[in-house]
């Protein structure tokens, strides 16, 4: 984690740097004797964690917190826990440490920050996956890239070296294979029900024996794919 230290007292900054050096995952980029200098730095640089002294003259730690637009994680450093209470209204405040700092307590705070970091990464990945599901993709036709809205696709049919993509508004013939496009489609929405067909399961109108009706197309369902299809449907 890239971090900075903000404390008006040099002794405190040196103590913090000493403690940070004991933890491999921490990389102290800079230390500042006042919050204004730190704000200038943060306007041009990104950090993961700030060690912030609350009690500083003129522009104190709480003023600093209020001035941040995209705050990273913050660990407060204070001699007086009462000053830390207000700051805990903010979810990016990980912990507060009382001066004089002790290594074991410091280490616990860093562990909390690391957990928060992991949780943020996990959320980011999930968001990215969800976005991918909702997003479009592009197909290449005659040197043109055409954006296709995934939920609008109701059927994809293999046709030799090509696939036919049927959407609510238009059909497209693309030089590709079902296998390739299947990899790009979200499982939650699409299912290969036959060696030549992938369907959008949300677009099924009815199912009869070994076929499904999607729009006006009657599509065969392979015997081996039927259990999976039945599992995916919301049956009463």
């Amino acid at each position: 984690m890239k971090c900075i230290i903000i404390d008006d007292e040099k002794t405190a900054r040196v103590i913090l740097k000493t403690l940070c050096n004991e933890i491999k995952s921490l990389n102290v980029l800079e230390d500042f004797p006042d919050a204004i200098q730190a704000i200038k730095y943060l306007n041009k640089n990104q950090v993961d964690l700030i060690f912030l002294d609350i009690h500083m003259p003129d522009f104190n730690g709480l003023d600093f917190i209020r001035s941040l637009k995209n705050p990273p994680k913050i660990i407060l450093i204070t001699s007086d826990p009462n000053f830390a209470l207000e700051a805990f209204e903010y979810d990016f405040i990980i912990d507060y440490l009382l001066k004089p700092l002790e290594f074991n307590r410091f280490k616990k705070a860093i562990e909390k920050a690391s957990l928060k970091e992991l949780s943020a990464i996990s959320t980011k990945i999930n968001t990215s996956i969800n976005t991918e599901i909702e997003n479009d993709f592009y197909i290449s036709i005659d040197r043109r890239l055409i954006k296709i809205d995934l939920p609008s696709i109701y059927l994809i049919e293999a046709k030799g070296d090509y696939i036919k993509i049927k959407t609510e508004s238009k059909d497209y013939i693309v030089h590709s294979t079902l296998k390739k496009i299947e990899e790009k489609l979200p499982d939650a929405l699409f299912l290969k029900i036959h060696r030549s067909f992938i369907i959008n399961i949300k677009k099924i109108i009815d199912i009869e024996d070994n076929s499904v009706l999607i729009k006006k197309d009657v599509i065969p369902v392979s015997r081996s794919k039927r259990p999976e299809l039945m599992k995916r449907l919301d049956l009463l």
Partner: protein, 105 residues
């Protein structure tokens, strides 16, 4: 009266003499400056400034292992917020004690 010590600094340095030396040097430089600022603030009678000076000095008091003195400084700081100078004499005794001590380290 309790005596200042280097227990905290030794614990922090974990046997690294260069860290120990660096911290002692900073304290030896920073403490007299902070003390000077404190007395200047006392002269000016601006309570907010005195309170800030006491707050900074408090950290040095705790680093030097002065537990009871830290409490005295805390009380003085609280009084200063109420524009009350009660505790000044005891606080300044601590400053004198540290001044003597840092000459020896």
């Amino acid at each position: 009266m309790e005596q200042p010590n280097l227990e905290y600094i030794n614990r922090l340095a974990r046997g690294d003499e260069s860290i120990k030396k660096e911290l002692i040097n900073i304290i030896k430089t920073e403490f007299p400056e902070e003390k000077k600022e404190y007395y200047a603030s006392i002269e000016s009678g601006v309570f907010k400034r005195i309170e800030e000076n006491v707050h900074r000095l408090k950290h040095k008091i705790s680093i030097l292992g002065l537990v009871k003195s830290y409490e005295i400084a805390n009380e003085f700081e609280t009084n200063l917020r109420k524009l009350d100078l009660n505790g000044q004499e005891d606080f300044e005794k601590i400053l004198r004690l540290i001044t003597q001590y840092i000459k020896t380290i």
